[in-house]
Subunit: 279 residues, 4 copies
């Protein structure tokens, strides 16, 4: 049986939501394969994600659900197609390599449309996989001009998500706003520890015994967006800065791959500065 | 708001179950705090666990749910009272100590009615916590007589669950049948590796780099019951057998405490030799 | 074979240290059971920890080693006796309970001489284990007077180490100086994230997906001392603040027990704001 | 300072070994960067691994060390060159992809000389990285002929190690003997659980809550060689067989990469069916 559609609902909580939603789907003869819901006490918001099998008339279903739900409800009915993504990179290869291999073997629930780099070091590697690489240097131009060039390039691809696979430039709020809740970043620390630049150096100097990596959605504040997933790896006193960076790379690529899978399967809701994860 | 009741449902899957169940609860004005469900593809069974707030008439609700559900459905409506448990121990103190401390400070969602030991080493420790300790030696009597004495002692307590907190005697199928799906054991290995006696010795001799602990429900076959939860801890070549046993104790008590929490909150369904865990 | 002594050496690195140290021990007929050493590149310091079997004349050996080593060398020759410790607590029982149970069953490589509490909630629990409990309230008196009373109480016990087992008062630099490098604290976060008060609340509000606990040596700055060990535990969006605190307690007691084992076996060197851990 | 050489010593333990070895190195003016040693109580064997800086005359040093050590001592003085390796694969890409990317970016402490596949599915992928791929089918020929063809191919490369990166054919003892202690395998389970074929299917049917992966040295018995490293990943009741296989792939590639790093840096000693790991 195919999992044809994902239904996502976000609205203020009220009694009878599950009964109402499930009732509509049952009446229409759809089979609910998976249904997960959550009420966030602090905000009173109801979140649900359903996987539905069977032929759907999305417009009709959406209308009927919206009729049932509070007026501010957001309803998404999403066919299980591959998402369209563009990767942004700088010089580090480990996340890019991991994603390109997964993509090549059809493991990623996404089509990688292109890679954009502010350095050209990863160009020939990317092109091995027949993915276009756009070298857009940030040097010698204003930040606005730099971002404008990226935005124009993105325009031609119309991606669903941008993935910052170790992209080491900070994006302006204006840029982020254009892809609100659609930019995924990997930060090389256990946020909120070691926000900002050189987290491994800071971790080394602090003498921590674990280092972390955090995948999050980018919002306007540096390294402050809603966290999707985090991992850690132990380090020892005899691990130098280089060892810590190497160890960190292992979890960075793993965390980014995990987070991306969740995003690409429409499992993440953003609520303020947090995520709801229907894994 | 109090979480007054847990509703548990197990039945063959069919379309409309969620809509039907949620509809009944809505009609009766109950608030669903949490609803989790799962359909096991291999067996076609539907499992659901709900937390409901509000005054309940359990008999009426059960009747109405059973009317809706397939005839073989099992419906449990369980008030959120503390469970009644009895611990069985031999000589090792670490799981017992952990549980008695949690119980003393009211952290355990259970009342520990008594501790039964086939040795008396842990008697004075147990009695510090004002818990009765029954010393029932297995020596010099038949297994049947041994178990009969235990059963009689249990009879006076009417426990909901038996917890084998490092109880080192194998129980007969007859005994197990009397407390079917209600005996929780901690096995000191990552099952199914190192089934049976001396798992640490076997692990040491095999040169493994991780050792594990497994909490499971006891059924008729030794160390073969449905697994509730498992943990591992790394070991190194310079860890001797004693080090591995010590390291193992740390995860044994942690795994047993985790599993017990799940059991005492009615979060575990048994399906054949597996568990469904609504955590 | 008994592990009779631990030898600890800290000095500026120079060529031939290992050959020299091992040569002295060999000449004297001592058997080196374990030898671990480390040179910290940043500071040029050499650290070594050896376990030696056999009868020792500590003064003679120390003299001979010091004659070999640079003048600033610190040499410790420590018999494998149990350390003497005093625990400081406030209201939370989980770390205290864990340590008292280990102590009762002779698992801890230390004698717990007394427990000091700035509340008296844990008094009757502590006394079950026949350990003296000193209730020294911080209320209605100056910080200086409060700490002076603690210091006087400690005077009667002459402990090797103080263990802050969820002691929720900040100690003054003067107090800390009196037990320099001999106060072990458990901080309920993954330091340096969430320094200071209410780390779980901060973690909850930040929406992290892992929470941590850190055992460290206390120095003058709040939560800034050299880290001994750290652990994390995953949390989910549906874990409320209470769930996170409960989950945190599990790793707090585990981290503190791990760190204490390392300290009590003389495995920790402090170097600036870091620890060298010869595990 | 360059880490020019690794010295590895294995011999029966006796008093004064460390003093003797360190003394020789000091006398010759070599700087010991790292020295780790271990005595295996069960066998009475002494193992040591040293990293030495400075110009070396290997023959002379080896002679001098052997003169000091018991006659059966094995002494290896190894320049820090890249090892030469050949990968063997079948159809699965995840371990191969991970290693080829690391190799391309010069992260692997080895030169991948060639990839041998008993299927040709991974040929074009391998060739993207300018690594020769040899398709040697096992079909239609005897096992002896199959292995003979592989051995002849290997002959032309003279590799230091063979890496079975999800190679799904069992090698004969004769083959293994030719590369004794030099074949690294990744087994897709937490050995010794689920030895042999279809470990994920067995794990799924057993209802485990963790799945594992094990990197080990291949000896004559299937999945029975000395374990180098192991990892686990949690699974849930709603993870189907496919989910478990996918989750397993993540740790398989991670475990293999970790193990290979240890092997390529000469950090592994084999002792009977165990490994000593100087990490």
């Amino acid at each position: 049986m195919e999992k044809n559609h994902v239904i996502r609902i976000k609205c203020p909580d009220q009694k009878g939501l599950i009964a109402g939603i499930a009732g509509i789907l049952f009446k229409r003869g759809y089979n609910i394969l998976v249904m997960k819901e959550y009420v966030e006490t602090e905000t009173g918001q109801f979140f649900a994600r359903l996987e539905i099998a069977g032929e759907l008339e999305p417009q009709e279903l959406e209308s009927e659900l919206k009729y049932l739900l509070p007026p501010s409800a957001i309803v998404e009915i999403i066919p299980r197609n591959k998402k369209r993504i563009v990767l942004l990179v700088t010089k580090e290869y480990h996340c890019l390599g991991d994603l390109l291999v997964r993509h090549y073997f059809n493991e990623l629930h996404a089509e990688i449309l292109a890679v954009i780099g502010n350095h050209n070091m990863l160009q020939s590697f990317t092109e091995k996989f027949e993915i276009p690489f756009h070298y857009i240097s940030h040097e010698g131009i204003s930040k606005t001009a730099f971002e404008e060039t990226i935005l124009q390039t993105l325009e031609t691809y119309q991606p669903d998500y941008l993935v910052l696979a170790k992209f080491m430039r900070i994006l302006t709020p204006e840029f982020v706003q254009r892809y609100k809740d659609r930019i995924i970043n990997i930060h090389h620390s256990f946020l909120p520890a070691f926000i900002g630049a050189n987290p491994y150096k800071k971790a080394f100097e602090r003498g921590v015994k674990l280092i972390g990596a955090t995948a999050h959605i980018v919002n306007n504040d540096l390294d402050e967006g809603p966290i999707i997933t985090q991992q850690i790896i132990p380090v020892k006193h005899d691990d130098g800065l280089t060892d810590m960076i190497e160890a960190g790379h292992e979890i960075e690529k793993s965390v980014l791959a995990d987070a991306l899978k969740l995003v690409l399967e429409d499992r993440i809701f953003v609520s303020g500065n947090k995520t709801i994860v229907f894994s």
